[in-house]
């Protein structure tokens, strides 16, 4: 058996360093990361990276910062019960080394969005990939029409990016609403499912792109409301969660019918996937 080096292997990681690690809630932590080479990670809003900790493994994590942020990028990671990788990642702090592959996949079609109104709907951890788009839109605000952002989460304690949300709420160029499934004594906002926010939004269906990112259960209900607002299927975009193990359209884990979520997605036009049973 002969051992060969493969310089162009798609499995090679880029060495990176954690610049800061900040706990957002009991289960989510936000990491600011820079590549050791000094180069920027050249990504689009909505793309994901394969994050590597040798000895533990790799996991696909959506990039939650906007590419307009220079020098470093952010990942928001939820530690799940028996999730070996996410729990190991939560133990990392500023100064620790980490590996990155990617970016991978098809992100949000931001050029297509230009000149259109936007209806951005996030549920739960869906705010992480959507934040890359929200911050991109804010940084290029005049390129877009009206911007509506709807956010839903379980309780006020689960709300991510609270300081930024305050800023979005104050901005005059964004219509922001949020709701929680269950309130808390000091919560003064909406209580109810995210679908309850949609009827109240005033939008022009011919000139609006809607983007929906959230837990699998959310899509059907939110899309039904959007369709009720006459937004056509080809103007609704979704970002689908699957286990993108290799990121290269090979390993099969993220496959939905004949689609590889990691290469053909994770962002899809709704009309492409709506007839694929099990996609949403």
């Amino acid at each position: 058996m002969e051992k060969m080096s493969i310089n162009r292997s798609a499995y090679k990681i880029k060495e990176a360093k954690i610049l800061s690690a900040r706990r957002l809630t009991d289960s989510e932590k936000l990491f600011d990361i820079a590549l050791q080479s000094g180069e920027s990670l050249d990504y689009e809003p909505g793309q994901f990276a394969e994050v590597s900790i040798f000895g533990v493994g790799e996991a696909p994590i959506s990039i939650c910062s906007s590419p307009t942020k220079r020098g470093s990028f952010e990942l928001c990671v939820r530690a799940v019960g028996d999730g070996r990788f996410t729990n190991a990642m939560h133990k990392l702090e500023a100064g620790d080394d980490i590996g990155i592959r990617g970016p991978f996949g098809v992100g949000f079609p931001v050029q297509l969005f230009e000149g259109n109104d936007l209806m951005l709907v996030a549920g739960g951890l869906g705010i992480a990939p959507l934040r890359s788009l929200i911050n991109y839109v804010i940084d290029n605000r005049r390129d877009f029409g009206k911007v509506n952002i709807l956010l839903g989460c379980k309780t006020p304690l689960n709300m991510l990016f609270g300081d930024e949300i305050e800023d979005w709420q104050k901005r005059i160029d964004i219509n922001f609403s949020c709701t929680v499934d269950r309130g808390a004594p000091d919560w003064k906002g909406n209580v109810g499912l995210i679908t309850s926010l949609i009827p109240g939004v005033d939008l022009d269906p011919e000139n609006t792109f809607a983007v929906v990112v959230g837990p699998p259960i959310m899509y059907k209900f939110v899309i039904k409301e959007l369709t009720g607002k006459n937004i056509p299927d080809h103007r609704i975009l979704v970002s689908l969660e699957r286990h993108m193990k290799c990121g290269l359209g090979k390993c099969g884990h993220c496959q939905i019918h004949n689609i590889y979520c990691c290469q053909d997605g994770p962002v899809f036009f709704y009309d492409r996937i709506k007839d694929l049973k099990g996609a949403i």
Partner: protein, 344 residues
């Protein structure tokens, strides 16, 4: 030279000489009706009258365990990418398995390319071997059109009585044959004998399911909610035998295998199976093919429909391995027949 013949009395010479130059892998008997590709030194070890081997030759192109990276975490997250390769000659590969390798070639050379696979591929010479008759009742190679050679080899052997007819398909094939030095030029009578055999094969190999192959993707599309899948789901025990033995199943997992001391180790790729429940599960716990019927249907669609849409090619070779190894006696030909019956 395009065609040659090898007297059967010279086969041992041929294999022994080849085995001096290269590692030679060929089908070897492993007990009643079981065969495996293994290294051989002489023709005596080879079983040329074999039914498809337990594992297809994909095990050489995409090993069950394969190192992708070697890592070292003593100072940061250092690694280098490697391929562990072995030069070899595969001897006696049936046409169904040649077709299987051609399917894998498409997948792994599709961008982004998988260099580990492509490096293995470039180190393996292939000598095909024609089936003059059916191996057993489970094959559906005529349905898939894989009972006759369609390239994918360096040399191809056909048994024509007291000699083998050799079609030399590549420069590499010619070089290997030259090095053994035990062949003769093929004459017109040999060509005629080959033609006669192929004509005879047309009478033997007939579409095994009486279904038009080109209609199968449509039947699968229409039959997505067919009761056929409920039936399969009730019988399947999710053992993953079918995916392991399939010449075109290539799904894999990637994980880290630390050395003692845990600071260094290997990132390896291992075969995985879409028939296992956790295969399509995500971190949050959601499992996108939680039912056995979902997984069975997915696998069948990945042979008869999805790759036709994506690569313009069926990913079933008709080798019959999945049927032979199924502990629940799920039969591929019967499944296609039942589905076709509903929508024909």
């Amino acid at each position: 030279m395009q065609n040659a013949i090898l007297r059967k009395s010279h086969l041992n010479d041929f294999i022994s000489k080849l085995a001096v130059i290269e590692k030679v892998m060929a089908p070897v008997a492993k007990g009643p009706n079981h065969y495996a590709f293994e290294e051989v030194k002489s023709a005596k070890e080879i079983s040329l009258q074999y039914i498809p081997t337990i594992l297809p030759p994909k095990k050489y192109f995409m090993p069950q365990h394969e190192t992708l990276l070697e890592y070292d975490t003593r100072e940061g997250q250092k690694m280098h990418a490697v391929a562990e390769v072995e030069k070899m000659v595969l001897f006696g590969v049936h046409t169904c398995d040649l077709a299987g390798i051609q399917c894998l070639n498409i997948v792994f050379s599709d961008r982004p390319k998988d260099l580990n696979y492509l490096i293995h591929k470039n180190k393996i010479a292939i000598i095909g071997f024609e089936c003059n008759n059916y191996c057993d009742e489970h094959a559906s190679c005529a349905l898939m059109g894989n009972h006759i050679p369609k390239g994918g080899y360096d040399m191809f052997f056909t048994d024509l009585g007291d000699y083998f007819f050799i079609h030399v398909n590549t420069q590499l094939g010619e070089e290997l044959l030259d090095k053994t030095g035990v062949y003769e030029e093929a004459k017109i009578e040999h060509m005629n004998a080959l033609e006669d055999l192929r004509a005879k094969k047309k009478e033997i190999f007939k579409n095994e399911v009486d279904v038009d192959k080109n209609m199968i993707p449509e039947y699968f599309k229409k039959g997505f909610d067919s009761a056929v899948w409920d039936d399969l789901g009730e019988r399947c025990i999710s053992c993953g035998n079918c995916t392991n033995v399939c010449p075109t199943c290539y799904c894999f997992d990637v994980y880290d295998d630390p050395d003692l001391g845990a600071k260094t180790g290997k990132r390896i790729r291992v075969w995985d199976s879409c028939q296992n429940e956790p295969f399509a599960r995500v971190a949050g716990g959601e499992s996108f093919r939680s039912q056995r019927k979902d997984r069975k249907r997915h696998r069948f669609n990945r042979k008869f429909r999805y790759p036709v849409e994506r690569y313009g090619k069926f990913f079933c070779t008709g080798c019959g391995r999945c049927t032979r190894v199924c502990m629940a006696k799920i039969n591929l030909k019967d499944t296609i027949k039942s589905l076709a019956k509903e929508y024909k």
